[in-house]
Symmetry: C2
Subunit: 573 residues, 2 copies
């Protein structure tokens, strides 16, 4: 039903992340080869044995709102508890905060496996990671001491409270308020929407990180501060005590991801919701970006998760479903549909895209670790890769789950095969944590121009230095040319071209990483079946998917004028 992609994860950790090199540092010395294997295998057992079997109930039963709070489907509380007990939440958290201090890239692999088993469920730990990051970077020592150990284990979960009905992509439009009570306490009031795991029954406390406005704050993003608002206030001994006036008003009726309650939260209905500042007043946006940047990688990773699951499901079905003789064959015997060329094309494309997305997201994750080690250029590389990992990883998740339905034929449209659930769930990922359009805007508006274009130039140079396939080299050259041109354009033209350019550049990066993996696989010792599949997937990616991206050149160099040649009022004509 679900098999953790341990072999591919390990291969990518070795050859894309450079986990061996990371483990040579003092900081990540614990990430020895044995430990890495033990982590991948251990979380794989939890995911396969306990999380994956709950995936369907997450969808069909789903999280339920009750007046006492949100109730998870049967089995989730125990499965979450076993995750906490196994120490899987602590993998990437610094030792000083109660974690194991392993690389972020290893934590990425852990979430990859958990989310492959059950994407909606894995969102709970994913969000907790965001809260940990924000507190680790911006919290006071007291806050860190009180909250981080409980968040690190996952005993308590974390949430991110940004969105309000009028403030979605435009977070600066938010209206939730914080009034000073003295003693560093603030009275929080406001309604937040789209809060994933905003409430549930798996943890004795939930730590809400809430963006709000202090009195007389300037308008827009500059006037926003971040507050720590626990569901239950802490007693003197640090245990959860009184209810903190955070009510879950309702949960959304979504197309999928029913295992993840998407909450409307009301803070301070009874004027009794108390929060503390995280970082300084008006430091909210900075803290939010700390939280969101890793969250963006983790959402890109959701694309990998759901693509992996969809590919496995489709391969399994295609091997068992017998239908029609093979065209051109002398035998008139019906064969498993995996034998038909177009079905194989879909399956190999699914494999290739899934592996490519994994390589892209893990490469970005590795930069988090390399930046932590102070490696020159790593932070910059992380900055430019983040929108690619988020947007392209999730686009691939959507494409692969759609192919997964197609491989199933009519059965793909019937809910019982599970292919439909994956397709429905994937579709949220290009939207949340900054829509993919926002990622594209970030790429052309901020990231291309970092260090006057030197960060982009270095990425291009690194790809070009290694690329061998002529089609891949052409794509890299074209991305360079288009990227340089984009920097000189005005906002409208830049943005009109942003999404096609993001896809081109992401494909170039994936092509670079897939070609490298194919080269290594061809001369590696190891499981011959895995290496043969890697070789085929790499070959397919470079030969067939890389050239596709060149087809976007016209769109990535088009100007905005055609878009504005009709006024908004007559757009429906």
């Amino acid at each position: 039903m679900f098999t953790p992609a341990t072999a591919d994860q390990r291969f990518v950790l070795d050859h894309i992340v450079g986990i061996g090199e990371l483990a040579e540092s003092e900081r990540f010395a614990a990430a020895s080869s044995d430990v890495v294997d033990a982590v991948l295998d251990g979380v794989g057992q939890l995911a396969e044995g306990e999380w994956a079997p709950l995936n369907r109930a997450g969808d069909t039963v789903g999280a339920k709102w009750t007046p006492e709070g949100v109730v998870m489907p049967d089995g989730f509380v125990k499965a979450y508890h076993d995750y906490v007990e196994g120490g899987w939440g602590t993998i990437g958290v610094a030792e000083e905060f109660g974690g194991q201090g392993l690389p972020f890239a290893i934590q990425t692999a852990v979430l990859d496996t958990l989310g492959g088993a059950n994407m909606s469920f894995a969102l709970a730990p994913t969000l907790t990671v965001g809260a940990i990051e924000a507190l680790a970077h911006h919290g006071s020592p007291e806050q860190q001491a009180l909250y981080l150990p409980h968040l690190a284990t996952g005993e308590w979960t974390g949430t991110m409270n940004l969105t309000e009905p009028q403030a979605g992509s435009d977070v600066g439009a938010l209206r939730s308020s914080a009034k000073p009570l003295g003693d560093g306490k603030w009275s929080i009031k406001g309604t937040k929407i789209f809060i994933s795991f905003g409430d549930h029954d798996m943890a004795p406390n939930i730590v809400h990180l809430v963006l709000a406005r202090t009195p007389d704050a300037p308008a827009g993003t500059k006037g926003i501060s971040l507050f720590l608002v626990p569901k239950y206030r802490l007693n003197a001994d640090g245990t959860p005590g009184d209810f903190n006036d955070v009510r879950v008003v309702s949960i959304e009726h979504k197309m999928g991801l029913h295992g993840s309650p998407t909450c409307v939260l009301s803070f301070g209905d009874n004027d009794d919701c108390i929060g503390e500042l995280i970082g300084g007043e008006f430091g909210g946006i900075r803290a939010m970006f700390t939280m969101m940047n890793n969250a963006r990688l983790n959402v890109g990773l959701q694309g990998v998760q759901i693509a992996e699951r969809a590919t496995q499901t489709a391969v399994g079905y295609a091997r068992e479903r017998i239908q029609s003789a093979r065209a051109g064959s002398t035998s008139r015997e019906s064969v498993a549909i995996i034998e038909h060329p177009d079905v194989r094309r879909m399956l190999l494309r699914m494999k290739a895209q899934t592996q490519a997305a994994r390589a892209l997201v893990y490469l970005a994750a590795a930069q988090v670790d390399r930046a932590a080690l102070g490696e020159a250029g790593a932070q910059d590389r992380l900055e430019i890769l983040t929108p690619l990992a988020k947007a392209h990883g999730t686009d691939i998740g959507c494409e692969v789950t759609s192919l997964g339905i197609q491989v199933h034929g009519g059965m793909g449209y019937i809910e019982e095969t599970g292919a439909a659930q994956l397709f429905r769930e994937a579709r949220i990922t290009p939207i949340y944590e900054g829509t993919n359009g926002i990622q594209a805007a970030d790429l052309v508006g901020r990231k291309l121009g970092l260090a006057n274009g030197a960060v982009f130039a270095q990425l291009i140079a690194d790809m070009r230095a290694e690329a061998e396939d002529q089609g891949l080299i052409t794509l890299i050259d074209t991305c360079e040319e288009i990227g340089r041109g984009l920097m000189t354009l005005d906002a409208d033209d830049k943005l009109a071209a942003s999404y096609p350019f993001l896809t081109m550049l992401s494909t170039a990066v994936c092509g670079w990483l897939m070609e490298r993996q194919g080269r290594i696989a061809a001369t590696s010792d190891g499981d011959p079946a895995f290496l043969a599949m890697k070789t085929a997937a790499a070959r397919f990616y470079v030969a067939q998917i890389v050239p596709e991206a060149m087809g976007l050149k016209a769109a990535a160099t088009a100007k905005a004028d055609v878009l504005y040649s009709i006024p908004a009022e007559t757009f429906a004509a």
Copy 2:
């Protein structure tokens, strides 16, 4: 909420279908310009006023199975009755069978509008059309006299019963049986699955067309015969009488299209199900193709329908949703999101793709009429366009509904906006009536080689003669080169390349038709808003979507070897 795309339909009827030319024939003399406008407006009123408001209940309430049969949601029975009363079912049916004898292209426009309002509902008339075609071409005079007048009005509905659990794409594997009872009657026995509108409460009778095997029939498709099996047998006066032992066992739990009951039908549980042959024994496949060919166009049309609805929904939302100031603007005022370049890009792409799909499907529909008039080459043109219309029309439906969700941002994932419903519903269309992979196989396996390639060559020549844009000409030339090459390949290589090639050729045809429309719009009198939008959509299509298809050249010329470089057994590695 839904506005019939009357202006675009009329434009396409005029400039792609050549409705004026058709109306010059004796056969279609009734299709005068006034009549065309009256039909488009009239069905538009029914669709907008009565069918569109039921679309949401079709999804949320859905058709329900009961022991007495399938019950439609409130309002459907009346809305269907008004469709019958309005005479909308009779549009394309020959006058000798009680119809109005208008061109198939006009019927296409009628279904376009009805399905845009309510795609799942419009499947009922769509299937009835298939039954009418089969009876009109292959039925006996008695069968035609008894059944066609009731089917023509839609008073009775029709179904197509092909699929069995072990016989999906491989229809030749079916096992339902027919035993002769004498007097031209046959005892039918078997279970059929995936029968759209296999049962419902909107009509006093349902005419099932059932593929089954007669005793000692040869294996495979050659041994299949088509039977007419009414739900209620006809009395001597032709009215529905005794129940004919056709039970609806269950309906499927699908990802969408809940307004269309997908039935498991059991024929002859009590050995009391009586059918009649349609056409000769073993003539089932031929009759089925008559039924399916037009059905394929009508499913391609569903792509147009759902894309139209999704585009309207997204444009409406994007005009109302206020979020963020426009980048690069001096004003910091938030604007409607339709003002942001990447949102506009999505919306214009949706418009362009929807219009392109409409032009492609209507062009194919026009060939049905031209073939009926005996126009040289029309039947051949229809043959080669059918897989393109079905597959590419539905691929566009999926793409456009996905973009529709993205334009809505987080709200797109919440069911209440309706964007999610459209996305879920579109996803069936690349699967049924022959998966799009089957369409691609049909294109490269049968259609390219028609008349030794002359049919394909003529299509290429016609496009080249009119195309002006260099990018479009390049695509046409490339399609020609690839198509010629494909004809010489073995089955595996041909099929491995089939889907990318189908997309390329479809895009070339769409580019040809969109360029033509843009050229005409630039010099036409008419609604300036419509003409400006058509011009922009055409410009966008030719400049940005046509070049994308060139990116598929590598895949369309790749061989199958990479697909078979790993054995099926290790594909999951």
